[in-house]
Amino acid sequence: MNGERARLAYLDHAATTPMRETAIAAMAPYLADQFANPSGSHRFSRSARTAIDEARDDVAEVLGCAPGEVVFTSGGTEGDNAAIFGAVRRHGGVAVCSAAEHHAVLHCVEHLGGVVVAVDKHGVINVDELQLALDNVASRGERVAVVSVMAVNNEVGSITPMRDVARVVRGSAKGAVLHSDAVQAACWLDVRDIVTVTDVVSFSAHKFGGPKGMGVMVVKAGTTLEPLIMGGGQERDRRSGTLNVAGIVATAAALRSTADSRATEVVRVAELKRALVSGIMSQLPDTIETIPTSASVPGVAHLCIAGIESEALLYLLDEAGVCASAASACASGAMEPSHVLQAMGVEPRYVQGALRLSLGHTTTEHDVATAIDAIVHSVRRLRHQQ
């Protein structure tokens, strides 16, 4: 695999990023000798419990919250579901989100018959529209149960100023739970800023170098949610299920390592992204950078290339050893038209040629150079033949 990976330019870090060595090393003992269930009362359990407690302290410190506010989950999707269903079931009322949310949020809100608020041309929630939506709910005599707004968009990488969102929600929907899907933020932003202004935040471990099937949800003290998963009440009754010891210690290790290297990684990856985008755009006319660099995270370069279809481009890139993506895939594996680009009002001829190149901790200059060559060559070929 390592040999194969060396030949590939992997630019799909927003889908998942390779596990960090520290995370792999941290989890290994808990897959072998230290197998105990941390909820038990014997020495084996106590040792596993210690590992969980230390991991929770670590995670809390990085996220800027109290250890008791950290809930380990199975991933970002669970955190999103738990926040929205949990708030509506506990408090009653309307769920509100932006039109560019990940399906893990959007489908929950739609399922509950909630309100979906328009986004601006960068895919960021329009705070005036949000204000209007919250006022509308109030004028109907209803209460808002939860407002869910993503910190960083998973498709296009745009950053939402959560402080502005919080101001509107605190002013116009008192008592509402403010949730943020911060899955794509962990590598690039100081997430303490998001945690500070919100009530519930969800993260996914495999997006920052931890294992798949692990997530972290911050539930601030004073915020109550009806649990999504009931049973033994392992996570202080907010979530049940035997604690995934290996997953939890690996998540903590990956998060710590992400936070420690964030300042330098943000600079390094931003430089790579600039080279990638300018290398492509300087050679391919009729291509737009969907979100300006100043308004997006360093890890996501999103381009819309007129005159081609993403599916065809991705095939040629795959052949050339470049792993990239377009929009989200459905259960069959087919690419679905992007609801994010539609909500942003991108012209159809550009939507068809959407390309997401996402960078991460293993991305090199060589990856960028390989990708530029492959993309320019493939797009020219497709445009020439069509």
Partner: protein, 350 residues
């Protein structure tokens, strides 16, 4: 050759991919995502994609999924609904072949550098000594699908492969079992993929067009009753007309959605001496007037002999040797050579 094989998740396309692999081609499998709505009939469902992908994995070939659902809506579903609204009887599987498999998919394959597209249809493609390509009936007469792939022109024929056309269905299943493919005993798909078994055609259309009641009259215009939805009535239909019992069997002879009238009569009144087809596609060149052809008007119907009475750029009038039961407008008619082996042309009954 580098071949893109369309894999529906059924046994035929599974074996088609296996045959190509065995012959040493560089093979990539693709499943087209066509229908985005509800379905329980199989085709296009996630479980079929799973089957196709597992077979591809077993054969050690790459498997892709292409989302052509917009094109499917435009070229297959919407025309299907529109046909019912205007009182004709469409054949969506043929339109899917025409616009999706042998147009959209083959265009994409060319764009991506493939040398050919393959499917699991039971038909063969032959190049005649003259250099002309022809669709030939499949080796298994009972499973022959040349009728549904009749629209292939010379360019597409030269680019298409039917790797199981020379096999019987039993042989296809046998090869699938030998290879341990999970699709070996999977039943054939029978129904229109976008119409659910539970709701059927009526529910599907009912959600998309308003049904209008119609008078049922005999050939002299005498009113015999009524039907609730003229859009659901097809020429040749006998059941569901809610006519009084005891009388001789009545068949639908004509449907007029404008005047909301269904004309019924004896089966003998359905017999016609000729048939007019439009939107004719000749796989090579049109035959001259007076030529004898064998004619098939449904997917598994018997063929009948006819003479070409009139022919123009996109129309043909056929004179039956023996009067034949009327074919509903909208259905496909396919002309074979006098030996009933090679497809010459196809069109839509006017």
């Amino acid at each position: 050759m580098k071949v893109l094989v369309a894999m529906s998740g059924g046994v035929d396309s599974s074996v088609a991919a296996a045959e190509l692999r065995r012959e040493g081609h560089e093979v990539v499998g693709v499943t087209m995502r066509l229908w985005g709505g509800e379905s329980d009939t199989g085709c296009c469902s996630v479980s079929d994609v799973d089957d196709a992908r597992r077979v591809a994995q077993q054969l050690r070939i790459d498997h892709l999924v292409f989302n052509f659902s917009d094109d499917f809506d435009t070229h297959v579903v919407n025309p299907y609904v529109e046909a019912h609204r205007t009182g004709t009887t469409p054949n969506p599987c043929i339109e899917c072949n025409r616009h999706l498999k042998f147009d959209r998919l083959s265009q994409r394959a060319r764009l991506l550098g493939f040398d050919a597209v393959a499917t699991g249809h039971h038909a063969r493609i032959e190049r005649q000594p003259s250099g002309v390509w022809r669709v030939i009936r499949g080796a298994d007469a009972a499973k022959d699908q040349s009728y549904v792939v009749h629209m292939l022109d010379q360019k597409e024929l030269a680019y298409t492969l039917f790797p199981v056309g020379h096999l019987t269905k039993a042989q296809v299943r046998e090869r699938a079992s030998e290879l341990g493919l999970r699709t070996a005993t999977k039943p054939d798909s029978q129904d229109v993929c976008f119409i659910s078994k539970t709701g059927g055609r009526e529910t599907f259309l009912g959600h998309r067009i308003p049904f209008r009641a119609a008078r049922v009259v005999d050939e002299s215009g005498t009113e015999l009753g009524s039907v609730e939805a003229v859009e659901m009535v097809t020429i040749g239909q006998r059941r569901g007309l809610r006519l009084a019992g005891g009388a001789p069997k009545q068949f639908v002879l004509d449907v007029n959605v404008e005047t909301r009238t269904v004309v019924v009569g004896a089966e003998t009144s359905l017999q016609l001496s000729d048939l007019r087809a439009e939107r004719m596609m000749w796989s090579h060149e049109p035959l001259p007037i007076g030529s004898e052809v064998m004619v098939q008007t449904s997917a598994h119907g018997a063929t009948q002999s006819a003479l070409i009475e009139e022919v123009s750029s996109d129309t043909v009038v056929l004179q039956w040797r023996e009067p034949q039961r009327r074919t509903a407008p909208g259905q496909s008619v396919v002309l074979y050579d006098a030996s009933d082996r090679a497809v010459l042309a196809g069109g839509i009954v006017a």
